[in-house]
Symmetry: C3
Amino acid sequence: MAETGISLRELVDRLGGTLRGDAKDSEHRVTRVGTLGEARPDALSFLSNPHYRHLLANTRAGCVILAAADAEACPVPCIVTSNPYLYYARAALLICPPHPIGSGCHPQATVSSQAEIDPSAYISVGAVLGAGTKVGESVYIGPGCIIGERVRIGRGTRLNAGVTVIAEATIGEDCILHPGAVIGADGFGLAWNGSNWERVPQLGSVIIGNRVDVGANTTIDRGAIGNTVIEDDVKLDNLIQIGHNVCIGAHTAIAGCTGISGSSTVGRNCLIGGQVGIAGHLTIADGTVITGKTLVNHSIHRPGQYSGALPMDDSARWRRNSARFRRLEQLARRLRKLEQHDGDRDL
Amino acid sequence: MAETGISLRELVDRLGGTLRGDAKDSEHRVTRVGTLGEARPDALSFLSNPHYRHLLANTRAGCVILAAADAEACPVPCIVTSNPYLYYARAALLICPPHPIGSGCHPQATVSSQAEIDPSAYISVGAVLGAGTKVGESVYIGPGCIIGERVRIGRGTRLNAGVTVIAEATIGEDCILHPGAVIGADGFGLAWNGSNWERVPQLGSVIIGNRVDVGANTTIDRGAIGNTVIEDDVKLDNLIQIGHNVCIGAHTAIAGCTGISGSSTVGRNCLIGGQVGIAGHLTIADGTVITGKTLVNHSIHRPGQYSGALPMDDSARWRRNSARFRRLEQLARRLRKLEQHDGDRDL
Amino acid sequence: MAETGISLRELVDRLGGTLRGDAKDSEHRVTRVGTLGEARPDALSFLSNPHYRHLLANTRAGCVILAAADAEACPVPCIVTSNPYLYYARAALLICPPHPIGSGCHPQATVSSQAEIDPSAYISVGAVLGAGTKVGESVYIGPGCIIGERVRIGRGTRLNAGVTVIAEATIGEDCILHPGAVIGADGFGLAWNGSNWERVPQLGSVIIGNRVDVGANTTIDRGAIGNTVIEDDVKLDNLIQIGHNVCIGAHTAIAGCTGISGSSTVGRNCLIGGQVGIAGHLTIADGTVITGKTLVNHSIHRPGQYSGALPMDDSARWRRNSARFRRLEQLARRLRKLEQHDGDRDL
């Protein structure tokens, strides 16, 4: 019978790092992953967030991936590395590789005869693919996905289930789109004619780069004239709204429930927290960090960390302070007056 | 011909409370429900929110459910009870019982031959169920629901339409999942390797207890290592984001558009308002109340009511006060200086 | 060969405005639209937002639609009009008319034999329509839409893909519902019985007027007793939550990620920004403007512009000011004391 899992020696051989433990530990095999608190000897664990350091002393994990500073305190074998979280990500992929995906079209998929499907791709039950759509090598189109006409989907990309992609969008390679994501719905373009709204035709498309993740129920609108662009390695969490003609620069990660209004450009390597709101027609510099719930109502030209949400308080004190906030302008004027009076006295 | 509806006498017999009215009122039948303002004599109404008390004097309802203090002012028959809203909920269920659901599998459902479907369950058109999935007694799987492999769905649970459940999730009994809910998408786990994001394998699952409601387009991510856990009687409104490894304690109710970041634990019997944002790795005590739009950026160890959103104001005044807020630190320093000067004078 | 596109003369003949340019310019044809920065001579562009005025001098567009004040600065032919954005919307519709939609039912649609489908309507693959549902002239029901029983859908309305409409809802004429929209899920009605939540039956429906747009993954709950009402010409962006028994007045436009709690009434001709939260049981006057991210926690009886979100700042300064905010009440008291002391001195 083939041995399952992977030995600690093999892990270090393949991923680097330094194994600390007895001689025999290098042959110990881990077959699963676990948290410090719950892992048993057959599981690999890790310590990255200092918030969980107190769990180290009592862990029963088969091996813990950690930084050098934590090695002494570890009661079980450990692998020392400079970036334990990244090491864990790679080790977990070795220990629990994703299930292979078949190829072909489920008989209850509805694929246009004018679609081009690579023979190594898999199209699931209930999926719909329009004319002129090209699906690359090893692509997975999950159940109930609806793909319009002339869409391109690059090699290795997965649309997990119930993803909608409107006509003419382009999705790069190795992307993952989670259930309920909507790519290419009409943007919110309205012109007032004096008595009614008239719809402004939304004629652009959506261009998504490589290695992009789009979270569950996240929406990315098509451009009004040009395209909405999501560059390589952008990571979008769940329930995010991306307006028309937005551009998100490469490697930017955005947490859930954030909304970005039309025609704004977010730079590369930005970190945007959850429930952030970015107004329209703004530019955010590369490398900007925006903490959760911030309203971004002007462009950011200098990278840095920006915030805009007050920390909570108990409601009674909050109400008193809020009430004062409503009169803050007056308070400032009263102070000014007092300062002037004070200055006059000194004359 | 069978009489329709229910008499006031029957209501009181089954649900308790005290009927006030003439002798003949106890035989009056109500066949529908209505608001105080719109109900006619064939409808049952209720008064719970004092906001609507002014409508009582002119109501034409066949009967009003209300608290003792409001009985005198009621111009029509009424049933007095200590919790009118709860009484109304139960009465409405008697007057308008839900439609019975059939059993069996629609011929256009795609059910794995290795799924176990209780014969009393109903699987609707376009639904997909994977291998190893177990569907309990009287379960309803609505049109277009996509259920992965090895999922368990307990007795009496309803997935209304277009619900996605990823492999290996467990859903308890008597739950309702509304359209577009996504259970078990990958959490937002990313490790930076110096030049790119690498995905951290998301290997845990989702465990949902009994009598849980999940609103339309709400997303609950699978755990990264352990599970995401939603305990019994948790009620989630629409468009809520629950991150990986979150635990929501029993009986907690959360209003729409709220986001809870990964690995946070919300206690039991909490009330969380809409658009609240809870940061990651926090603990919220049992019985905590958080008002709408609050940013929760540290743990709450003492139950109580917490707030964090300023009340609106007209925009002109808001701008003036906001501008002062940006110089609040300076304002406080100026005040301090004045105090010192004032103290010096007194010497 | 038929000429494609439309000449500038034709545009002005059909839509009004004044063409400025050489005599021969009126025969110039535009076949597409483009932004000021990217349009080539075959494309029509426009200038409406002053933010983009700096692009005018170098535009290569075939024609620019603009206001009189910008005409002098335009290096290419232009059409002068009082509302360039509205003119552009109409011109774009002439240049890029929407694709005609066929009629009939796709063989993989599941349409109840008791549904009434106008022969000019089109029902796409995977769509489900319940008994008693009436679909009007030229309606388009996209792939994977799930329409319950006794729903009415008016002439010319489009449900683009994966839209869910619960039993008995009414949708007017010329509406567009974008993918993932959920119309008529149960509202968030719960009564506490002392130990558990009990569901309050949600018995009302949703009434949507004419020319209403509903964005991708937006949710509109059914009424608890009466109906949830969306009046004519209401425009809802993506990921909006509309609670039970809400009424949105005609011509009101609401940006993405906004949530409106149950039983609130928003007036006509309102503009509501993104990520706004409106508490329950409130009334918002006609013509009210609410800027993004505002918490509306009391009724607005006087139309005007209202705000409630602080502008962001760099995080270090933000933290200092936030800390002061937590002691704002004390700061105000200290100021008061100083004022009194100051007054005493003057005696």
